[in-house]
């Protein structure tokens, strides 16, 4: 079997898994629904309870899980290729936390209520600042230690500022909502959130997809890439704003969800022959599958407790991260 057929097979299998998990996500929830009734409710227009549950509660949740998972997987793969750093990931680099800060500022000051698109755009702005800071501190050298330190600094600062903004809100409930912004949840999201975030995410995906070829060349090193006609200014623009747009929009509606962008590209890299252009679509599908599965898990494990989805991704992701650090520790010192 040629490498190309194997890649197509992998993409086909991943797409099938995403589709199955999407269907399973639609069937998961505290209200008991039969298999056929549930899918009938999805297309019914009678506005009865079943139709409401399927169309207004479960469908947006499943769409967001798939889209946000794809965002995190894709941006993780793109960042690892662009920064040539195995530990690059929106959560670890503080990009998600900074996007949370932007979203919190827009939401809790009332800016987002006056101008709905302000929510994803403010999150995008927060994410851009984080990417630029991390890039300035760590550069494209591929040094693992500096990038982790930069990420730690950016995420703890953004987390503290988010907490401050929530504490200063006149709404007494707001102060307790730091958990959502740090761990993320898809509970009770609606179609409004889908319409608000999905278009911005798609713009981000398109920009990251355009990185496929340049990233392949960039594996040879920055100088080699430039000599082969890769416009580094354009690559930088696409990487920074593609990541910021997709991760910003995702975080604005679901909070910061960690580790997906780290695990997925690492698991899939050996299967695609370490070529960034192939890793990008595979990671997008893998991320969607992982987040759909995690979101199904939080609803099965603790149905009525609004368990945060970041808890599940951290349970898988943190040991994985430690294992990666262990593997790369020679380059750390």
């Amino acid at each position: 079997m040629s490498e190309r057929t194997r890649f197509h097979l992998l993409i086909g299998v991943l797409a099938l898994v995403v589709l199955l998990l999407f269907g399973l996500s639609l069937l998961t929830g505290p209200a008991a629904t039969g298999f056929f009734d549930a899918f009938a409710g999805l297309f019914s227009d009678d506005r009865g309870p079943l139709a409401l549950i399927m169309q207004e509660i479960r469908l947006p949740r499943a769409i967001l899980a798939a889209a946000i998972g794809a965002t995190l997987g894709l941006s993780g793969a793109a960042l690892q290729g662009y920064l040539r750093n195995p530990l690059a990931e929106p959560g670890l680099l503080g990009i998600s936390a900074s996007a949370s800060l932007g979203a919190v500022l827009a939401l809790y000051t009332g800016f987002a209520a006056a101008f709905p698109l302000g929510l994803p755009l403010a999150a995008l702005a927060g994410a851009v600042v984080a990417v630029l800071i991390v890039q300035a501190l760590a550069g494209l050298s591929g040094n693992v230690l500096t990038i982790i330190l930069a990420g730690v600094a950016v995420s703890s600062f953004a987390g503290a500022m988010t907490s401050l903004a929530l504490n200063l809100s006149p709404n007494p409930f707001a102060a307790l909502e730091i958990v959502f912004w740090m761990l993320g949840s898809l509970n009770d999201r609606s179609m409004t959130h889908v319409w608000l975030s999905l278009p911005v995410m798609i713009v981000g995906w398109a920009m990251l997809a355009a990185l496929a070829r340049p990233l392949d060349v960039l594996t040879l090193g920055e100088q080699a890439a430039q000599s082969m006609g890769v416009d580094m200014g354009r690559v930088r623009f696409l990487a920074v704003f593609g990541t910021a747009a997709s991760v910003g929009a995702a975080t604005a509606v679901a909070g910061a969800i960690g580790f997906v962008g780290l695990i997925v590209p690492h698991v899939l890299r050996p299967l695609v022959g370490a070529r960034p252009s192939r890793l990008l679509p595979a990671s997008a599908l893998g991320g969607a599958a992982l987040l759909l599965a995690a979101d199904i898990a939080v609803r099965i494990v603790a149905p009525a407790r609004d368990l945060k989805i970041g808890v599940v991704t951290a349970l898988i992701g943190a040991p994985f991260f430690l294992w990666l650090v262990f593997r790369y520790r020679r380059t750390l010192v």
Binding site: G29, P30, A31, R47, P49, L50, L52, I53, E56, I57, R58, L107, Y108, T109, G110, A113, S169, P170, N171, P172, F173, A174, L176, E177, F180, D188, S190, M191, T192, P303, A304, R305, D306
Partner: protein, 282 residues
């Protein structure tokens, strides 16, 4: 040296506090309440000038029904130090007030009386009587109890509407059996969805379950604090608006539900009025 002087200071404080306490037979002249629920009960029962200070929440219209009445009183933040300086004869606290503060005040020799949160209408009645005894104003407490009984009898006299009401608070919480909110719904003549679903206490009710139960009335929404919070976001969810729309939604003023006082019956009266309106529409 430092240790010795500190224990001396503590001893002096204990002595000072002990000297301030008056014999229990005489009604306390200087009373401080440090819980928003005991604040309101004390304001209703106390003689003029007897209540020296209430908690700052008592003056917050989002938390207290008697916010206007609290304006003439000193407001405290429930800190042992500020209450010590007020030299009260009696401190009234909730059992949920900060334990450390209550223990410290007792060690300093203050008389602290604690009230547990209310879970039924009978508890309200008992608390009014107890507050009357503590403040030495049983006649005022007796009048409040008589009025409370009459109001409750009037509510119970009107035929129950038997409509199903879902309580839906911020963060998707609802109240099942054994809660004050359930007792209020029962007094209004409606049926509480939380109890019918077998819930006990205050628990999460997923939006899906609310939609699936098809309640005839939904009491939720809560107060507008001028700024949004995720806790209240479910009230704007299309599925919630479909269930609570078209005359079925009741915007609750949670201040009446928060504490068990004679004023709590106002919540039951409002529910009953809404139920009558909804029944008339059909």
């Amino acid at each position: 040296m430092w240790r010795a002087s500190r224990s001396l200071l503590l001893g002096a404080l204990v002595w000072l506090g002990g000297a301030l306490a008056v014999p229990a037979a005489e009604p306390p002249a200087r009373v401080v309440s440090m819980n928003v629920c005991t604040d309101q009960l004390a304001m209703l029962v106390a003689r003029p000038g007897q209540l020296h200070s209430v908690s700052w929440l008592a003056a917050d219209p989002a938390m207290s029904v008697l916010a206007n009445e609290a304006e003439g009183l000193r407001l405290n933040r429930g800190l042992a130090e500020e209450i010590f300086l007020m030299k009260p004869d009696l401190v009234i606290a909730g059992t949920f007030s900060t334990r450390a503060t209550v223990t410290l005040l007792q060690r300093l020799g203050f008389r602290v009386e604690q009230f547990a949160p209310v879970a039924s209408l009978a508890d309200i009645r008992a608390n009014i009587v107890r507050m009357g005894d503590l403040l030495g104003n049983p006649s005022r407490a007796g009048a409040l109890v008589a009025r409370f009984d009459a109001d409750l009898a009037a509510l119970r006299a009107s035929p129950p509407s038997d409509q199903m009401l879902a309580l839906y608070f911020a963060n998707s919480y609802t109240s099942g059996g054994g809660t004050l909110a359930d007792a209020v719904v029962e007094a209004s003549g409606l049926k509480n969805l939380g109890r019918e679903m077998g819930y006990e206490g205050t628990v999460k009710l997923p939006l899906e379950m609310l939609v699936n139960a098809e309640p005839e009335l939904v009491a939720g929404g809560g107060r507008d604090f001028g700024r949004p919070a995720r806790a209240q976001e479910a009230f704007r969810h299309p599925a919630y608006r479909a269930v609570a729309g078209a005359g079925r939604g009741i915007v609750m003023d949670s201040t009446y539900w928060l504490c068990g006082t004679p004023l709590t019956l106002e919540a039951a009266r409002r529910l009953a009025a809404h139920a009558d309106l909804a029944a008339a529409d059909e």
